[in-house]
Symmetry: C2
Subunit: 250 residues, 2 copies
């Protein structure tokens, strides 16, 4: 074990922050760390919007299902897939790049690039004593978020990262059994085996909740997932993506 692995293994999402802004140095460290992540073909296909303004954070908190910790975070980063600068690069070089930018492949590249960068940012923040929480719920109202942040074509908000000084101690939720997530050579196609692993995991999760809530709650993981997945959420994302010129092509 070393400090990197300790930081990684020590991760917990923080949802209560002291009301103190990050310093400029902290923000710079976080962004520079994000930038050092690997990037597909050197594209660097993302932009990070940093929100300090209290009323903008409040508006984003509201759009993200009233998650007050968005508003109270020390700094709120919005990670965006961004191919806008590649469109500019095409213009600068007088080369037609639209066909390429609009492929589904390029959408994947941008989402992956942005996510790798974000995880570097998250770990850098945690390593300097800050707490973080990813906010996927900015996709609840993705179009409004996009308008609020003045995102042009080829730029879409993917998720937020609330960062700040932790004001709570939180626990770690047990992950899936390693053998359920990690298979060797080929995918484990024996569904009986996978189902048995999930049943075993259900017991872990049930007793985790039971302990944490003094018996008030004991949901299984599969129960939680099924309940959540029973109703489709965030409908219309594809329409939004296409309106921003993403994934218009195969």
């Amino acid at each position: 074990m070393n400090d990197v692995i300790n930081t990684i293994m020590g991760h917990r999402s923080v949802r209560q922050f002291k009301e103190a802004p990050l310093s400029g140095d902290q923000v710079e460290t976080i962004v520079k760390s994000a930038q050092m992540a690997s990037t597909s073909s050197y594209l660097q296909a993302y932009t990070i919007i940093g929100i300090k303004n209290r009323s903008v954070k409040a508006k984003l908190a509201e759009l993200a299902g009233n998650q007050t910790y968005v508003e109270k975070s020390g700094h709120f980063f919005v990670f965006c897939a961004d191919l806008h600068r590649h469109q500019l690069a095409g213009q600068m070089e007088n080369v037609h790049v639209t066909e390429s930018l609009q492929t589904t492949e390029k959408f994947m590249v941008a989402v992956i690039d942005a996510s790798l960068a974000a995880q570097n940012a998250a770990l850098a923040a945690e390593s300097i004593g800050l707490g973080i929480c990813y906010i996927g719920a900015i996709r609840n109202h993705i179009e409004e978020v996009s308008t609020l942040l003045k995102l042009p074509d080829y730029v879409i908000p993917l998720f937020g990262l609330a960062v700040g000084i932790p004001a709570e101690e939180t626990g770690q939720k047990p992950r899936l059994p390693l053998e359920n997530v990690y298979h060797e050579e080929t995918y484990e196609t024996d569904e009986t085996k996978l189902t048995a692993q999930l049943s075993e995991y259900n017991e872990t999760i049930s007793s985790y909740y039971e302990k944490r809530t003094n018996g008030r709650r004991n949901d299984r993981w599969t129960e939680q997932m099924a309940r959540m997945l029973a109703v489709p959420k965030r409908i219309g994302i594809k329409t939004f993506l296409k309106s921003k010129l993403y994934m218009k092509k195969n």
Copy 2:
């Protein structure tokens, strides 16, 4: 600066490995680190396939455009978006989850989850002295890779991560200017400013290549991007995703 930030800032992709397999402990450390990344709504929507078999690595190297370092890596990880276990969860709980799994939103969740996990894996590997290289080129022949790894519906290969003992010293490619990637409050909509930043970056990159290649090469970044984006690559990804039941719905 601390060890986490040093590791992040010290990243370089490694494309020559000593021909030595990773130990079981190393693989476990890497996978457990991946699992500790944040995950949207506790979904943990990814699976990692670890490839040790030399002939399978050779086949993957071929499918990824003859990248020999895939074959010679100590361990080749394939990160997959995975909603298959959520389909099983639905079956176990007797809840209809298909509508939800097939939304574009859930595709995004799975790609983001897998990518956050991968970056934890990459940093964990680097922190124990291993070198890494992401391999997006497994998407060159995504269907063949999928068949080779026996991936069922709701599982798609996103990218590989070649890991091994570095057998080369590589340089670091300069990233985009921070102010081009990081904007405050709203997106920088002044295209003149963005273009000027890219021109400045072009000079950085030109002189970087010139120094590294003793003057044989001096491409601008925008030139590199425009050249690469002139021809759409990896066409048909959308059709493949839909065949695996991803993104069938809005």
